[in-house]
Chain length 350, copies 4
C-alpha cells in the first residue's frame, strides 16, 4: 500500500482540476484518492464526468474513480480546491471547518485578512496566518490560497527586484491565454483572429493580489506592499501562457546587468527545500530580442518557471520588460501544489 | 476622358500598394494611371506581378496595367509611395527631385526635419514644411509622410485630449495585426497560437512619431510635444487592426464625461472640408465593457475611424483606455490618401 | 406606415436569428415586427437579451424591441424560425397550426414527408407539398424548410451537373466554420490550432438532405435522387464559410469546359423572378489554382453565391472539385429568406 | 570518445533539419558530427545560421558547430538529407556517388525506379533496390527515401488492411498542418481563419507514393499496388499534424471489429527489431467519437504513431475513417531516422 498522503480534489472535472490530476499522477508525496465535483457529475466515473482537455491521457486509476459529492464527509484531510469563486466561497469554509487543509486556487478567500495568499518563492512566511484562522483552532483545518494566473508570473519577476532595489511603481498589460477562462470558457467565435480587451474582475485581482503577495506580515495581518500598481488585461488567441508587458520604477537605481543577475540568481525556499514541483530556476532571463513567446517558452521548468525578456529602458518609468508564465501550471494547479509541498515541508500537513 | 488627377503608386504590388489600389478604385478626385514596383515585377501585367491579398477583386483596369519601372520618367506628378524604408530612402528623393508630389507611407523620411509627418485631423498645418524642402524650390516636388500604423490610432485618440487637457505622460502597449508586416510578412509558424513581444524598430518609431505629430510648427521645424512617452509593441494572431492598451497623465484634471465628450465631439479640418476619405467621426468612444475589438470594430468609418473604449482610472497615471485602429487603412494607405486629399484642398497638387 | 409584410423571428437571439435581423434590415418586402426567444430572454429589450455577434450594429428599431414569448399568440403570420431542433420540433407545428407560414432553418421537420425542403434555385417545385400539410387545410398555416449549412453549397454546385449530366456518385469531405455551431458553440480550447473530425449528426443530414433536395416530386411525396452519397464532416478554425472537397461520378460523360460552363451559366427561378436576395449568379467557378478560400470568397454574391474551384480528374470517380459556401447566410438565414421570397412570389404569403 | 556512428545533416537549418537534430540528440546509435546548409549559412555557427523553431533548445554541441558547405568532401558516410526537391536532385546523387548512404526526406528521387521509397513497418524489403543503384556498385553509396508527409500516415493505416483484406479503392482528403510547408512557409495572412484548398504537387505525390509503398518488389523494380487512389489536399491553420478523411473499398469483406483488430495488432519489423525510434504500436485506433485530433493526438508514440478513428460504413465505398499523423516527425525526420535504423539493423551502414 502507498504511504503517500491521500489528497482530494474539489472541482476535479474542470481545466484546473484536470491539471491537478495530471501533476499529481506521479507525485512522490501525494496521492489522489478522492475527486469531487458538482451535482451533475456526482456518482459518475471520472472519465465520463470530465471532458478531459489535456494532452496526456487520464491516469487509469482516476478514470475509474467515482466522482464524490462536494461535501467534507468522507473526504481526505488534504484538499486541492479548483472551484469557481461563488461556490468556493461557500464550500471551502465547510471543508476547513471539518478539519481539512484546503489548498485553494480560487479567488474567493484570497483577500480575506487571515487567509494566506502565497507563492512559496516569494512569501512563504505568510503561511503563519493559518494560525489566526478560527477553523484552525477549532478543527485544525485551514485555507491557503495561491494568486490569480495573471499575478503569479509577474510577482515572481518582481519579487527579486523588490528585494534588491525596491519597487516604486508597476504597470502591467497582459495578453492572456484562453485556458485561463476554463472550459468551455471563451467561445471560438469571440477569439479567433481577435483580441478581447476585457476580462471581468481580472485587473482588480491582479493589482490587489500583487500588493498582498509582496506585502509584509505584521502581527496577524499582511501590510500590502506600498508601491503603485496598474493593470490592463486582454485576452488573445493563445492556448496556454500569459504574456505581459511590464514597466517599473525602482527606488534604488540598477543597471541592466544587475537586474538580469538578480533574476537569474533568484533562488528561494522551494529550491533550498528541493520541493518536488519547484523549478530549479524560478525566473529565467532570455537574451534573444523576441523572447519569451508562449509557443516556445510556456513549458520552461515544466511550466513552473517564469520567463522574462526584453529588458530595456523605459522613457516614463525606469525599465520595461516582458514576462511569460504558464497560466494553468504555475498560474493555477502547480501553484497550489507547490503551496501544499511547502505546507508539508513546514509540518502543516500533519 | 476622366478629369480626375492622374496618380501613380510606387510599391504597388505589396499589401499597402494593394490597399491604395482598392481605396482609389472609385475615388472622386484621383485616378491610378501608373503602377510601379521592383525589378522583378517590371514589365508584367499587374495581376500577374501582384499576389492580391484583399477581399475585393483587383479593379479590371489595374489588373491589365503593365508594371512600370520604379523611376520618375513617365510617372505622373502625384505619387503614392508604399516602399520598404531602405528603398524609399533612395527612391522618394528621386521622385521629389523630378517634380513629383510624393505622398509616402514609408518610415524613411518621416523624422527628417523638413519633411511633414501628418495626420490631417491632427497637424495639417505641418504641411507648410513642404516649402522648406530643397526639392520644392528646385522642381516643385516634395515629400509628405504619414505615421507608422501603431502611432496613428493612438495619436488620433490623444490629439483631442492634448488640446483640451494637455498630455503629460503616455504609456502604450500594442497588440498588432500581422498585416502590419506586409506580405508574406509574419510566418504562420511564428504566430499561430502565439504572441511575439517584439517588432523591430516599432517602439522607437511609435515614440518619436507621436511626439512629432503632436508637436508645434516653429519657423522651419517641428518642436516635438514635450510629454514623456513609452511604447511596448507585440504581434498577435489578428489579420487587421492594432489594439492598444494606453495609460495617460493629463496636465489639467478631467472627468470621464469630459474625456468621452472630447473624443466623440472631435472634428477637424478633413471633416470641415468634407475630404472624400475623411470619416464623419474620427474618434468614437464605445461604452460596452469589452470593446473595441478587431473582429467587430476594425472597419468603423470604412477603416478610417479610431475606436476607443474602456476608459477607467489608472492607479499610476490618471486614466487608462483601449484604442483600436485599422492598420492598413487608417494606418497606411488611407492615411496617405487623406494626406493627398488635404494637399489638394490646400492647393498643393497643382 | 410601412406596407411591407410583417414578419416575426423565432429564436431571434442566436447566431442565425441575428443574421435574419441583419438581412431583413433593409428588405424591400418584409419588416421585422416581432422577435421571440427562450424564457430567459422574454420580456427584455432585444439588445440586452441578445449577445450580438455580427459586424454591423443591431438595427435601432430591433434593439429596442421587447422579446416576446415563443408562442403563436400575437405573432405575425410569417415566421422565420431559427430554433434548435429539439425546440423546433415542438414549436414549429404550434405556429403552423395557428395559421403561420413557418419558414424554418431547423433540422427538426426537414425530412418529414409532407414538409418541403427547398433551395429555390434547385427544387422550388417541392413547395407544392405545402398543400399536403394538415395545418394548411386547417388554418392555412404551413412549414417550409431549408437544408443544413453543409448541404446547401454542395447541392447548388451539384444541381446543374445533375440536370445536365446525371449524378451517379457523390463523395464529400467538409471543413466547416465554427459559426455553424451557433454561439457560444465551439469552445476556443477545442479548435485553436486544431481540426475536429466530428460534428454530431451532420453527415447523416448532409447525405439524406442532398438526396431529398435533388429528388423528384411524385404525387404527394418526394422520391429521393437515386445516386450514392457519402459525407465526412470536420470542424476547422474558420469563422464563416464551409469548404468542401468533392468527388463525383456522372452518368453522361462531360468535358471540363462543359462542366464549368454549366456552373457559370446556371440561372434559375430566383434569378428570373429577380427575388431580392437571389444572387445574380448562384454558382461561380474560379479559375485560380488555389481558390475558393473562406478568407477571400465567403462573401461572394453577398454571401448567397456558391464558389467552386479546382475542377480536375479523379482517379476513382470522374471529377473532383472544391466548393465554398457561406454557412450562416446561404447556409441558414439567407436560405430561409430566399425561400420566403419564393413563397411570396408564388402567392403563398397571402 | 563516442562509439556512435557519425552522421551528417544536409539542409540542417530548415524545419526538417531541425527535427533531425532534435531527434538525434540522445540517439543510441547515431551522432551528428556535421551539419551543412546553403551558401548563405556556410561557415557560420549553427545557432546563428538556423532560425530554430522547435520547443526544445538547440543541443549545445550542435549550436556551436560550424555549418559546412553542402559538398561530400569531409562529410561523414551517413547523410540525412532534408533539402528542397530542386537542390536534392542535384546534391543527393553527388553524395551517393562519393560513397555516402543518403537517407533522404526529399521528393526528388522518390519515384526513381531504383530508389527505394520505404516505411520500415510497410515495405522494408524494398531496401533491396539499393543494390541496383549504380552509385552502390561504384562507391558503395546509395539513396533511400521516405514518403511525403501526407502519404506516410495514410499508408501506415492502409498497410495492415491491404495485407488482411486487399485494397481496391482509396479516396483521401487531407487537412494539412503549416509546418509541412517548411519555414517561413505559409504566410500568416494566408492561413489565419482560412483553408487553402491547394498544395502544389501534393496530390500527385500522395497518389503515386502510396501505390509505390504498397507495391511489390519484382526483380529490379517495384510494381505499384494496383488499387485506384484519389487525393485532395488542403492546408489548415494547424501547427503540426495532418488529419485525413479516408474512404476505402476492400476486396475481402471485413467487420468493424476485424478492421480495428488488424490496426491495433499491427506490428512489423521495426517493432520486432526494437529499432530505437520505432513506436511500440504503429497504428492506434481511438474509440472516442471525435478523435483523433491534432491538439491531443499528434504526439502519440513520440510522434511516430499513426492515430485512426471514426471507422464507420461508407455509402459509396465500404468504410470511412480519420487518420492523423505527425508531419515533421513520422512524416519527415522520424521517417528518415527509422529508415536509417532499419538500414543499420540490416547491415547497410557498414
Amino acid at each position: 500500500m502507498s504511504n503517500k498522503l491521500p489528497v482530494g480534489i474539489l472541482g476535479a472535472t474542470g481545466i484546473v482540476g484536470q491539471r491537478f490530476i495530471q501533476m499529481l499522477e506521479h507525485h512522490p508525496w501525494f496521492e489522489v484518492t478522492w475527486v469531487a465535483a458538482s451535482d451533475r457529475s456526482e456518482g459518475r466515473p471520472y472519465d465520463e464526468a470530465a471532458r478531459w482537455r489535456l494532452k496526456t491521457p487520464i491516469p487509469a486509476k482516476i478514470a475509474a474513480m467515482t466522482v464524490s459529492p462536494a461535501k467534507p464527509k468522507g473526504a481526505p484531510k488534504i484538499i486541492f480546491a479548483a472551484l469557481d469563486a461563488g461556490i468556493a466561497r461557500e464550500l471551502e469554509p465547510q471543508f476547513a471547518d471539518a478539519g481539512c487543509a484546503v489548498v485553494s486556487n480560487s479567488s474567493a478567500l484570497r483577500m480575506q485578512s487571515d487567509v494566506p495568499l502565497v507563492i512559496p518563492e516569494v512569501n512563504g512566511d505568510h503561511i503563519a496566518l493559518i494560525d489566526k484562522q478560527s477553523w484552525r483552532s477549532k478543527s485544525r483545518g485551514y485555507v491557503v490560497t495561491n494568486p490569480n494566473c495573471s499575478a503569479i508570473g509577474l510577482v515572481l519577476a518582481l519579487a527579486p527586484l523588490h528585494r534588491a532595489f525596491g519597487l516604486e511603481t508597476v504597470m502591467a498589460v497582459t495578453m492572456q491565454a484562453v485556458s485561463g477562462a476554463g472550459y468551455p470558457g471563451v467561445a471560438s467565435l469571440d477569439i479567433l483572429g481577435n483580441v478581447i480587451p476585457y476580462i471581468a474582475k481580472e485587473e482588480e485581482k491582479m493589482e490587489e493580489e500583487t500588493q498582498k503577495l509582496l506585502g509584509t506580515l505584521k502581527g496577524s495581518s499582511i501590510e500590502p506592499a506600498p508601491f503603485a500598481m496598474s493593470a490592463q488585461c486582454n485576452r488573445v488567441a493563445v492556448e496556454d501562457g500569459h504574456t505581459e508587458s511590464i514597466s517599473i520604477r525602482l527606488k534604488k537605481k540598477a543597471t541592466m546587468e544587475e537586474i538580469v543577475g538578480v533574476w537569474n540568481n533568484f533562488r528561494a525556499e522551494p529550491q533550498k527545500l528541493k520541493l518536488p514541483s519547484a523549478p530549479a530556476q524560478p525566473v529565467v532571463y532570455m537574451a534573444a530580442a523576441d523572447r519569451p513567446q508562449p509557443r516556445f517558452d510556456v513549458d520552461a521548468g515544466a511550466g513552473m518557471t517564469t520567463s522574462v525578456g526584453r529588458l530595456r529602458k523605459c522613457n516614463v518609468l525606469d525599465w520595461k520588460f516582458t514576462v511569460l508564465s504558464h497560466n494553468t501550471i504555475r498560474g493555477a494547479a502547480g501553484a497550489a501544489l507547490l503551496n501544499a509541498e511547502l505546507l508539508k515541508a513546514k509540518g502543516y500537513l500533519g
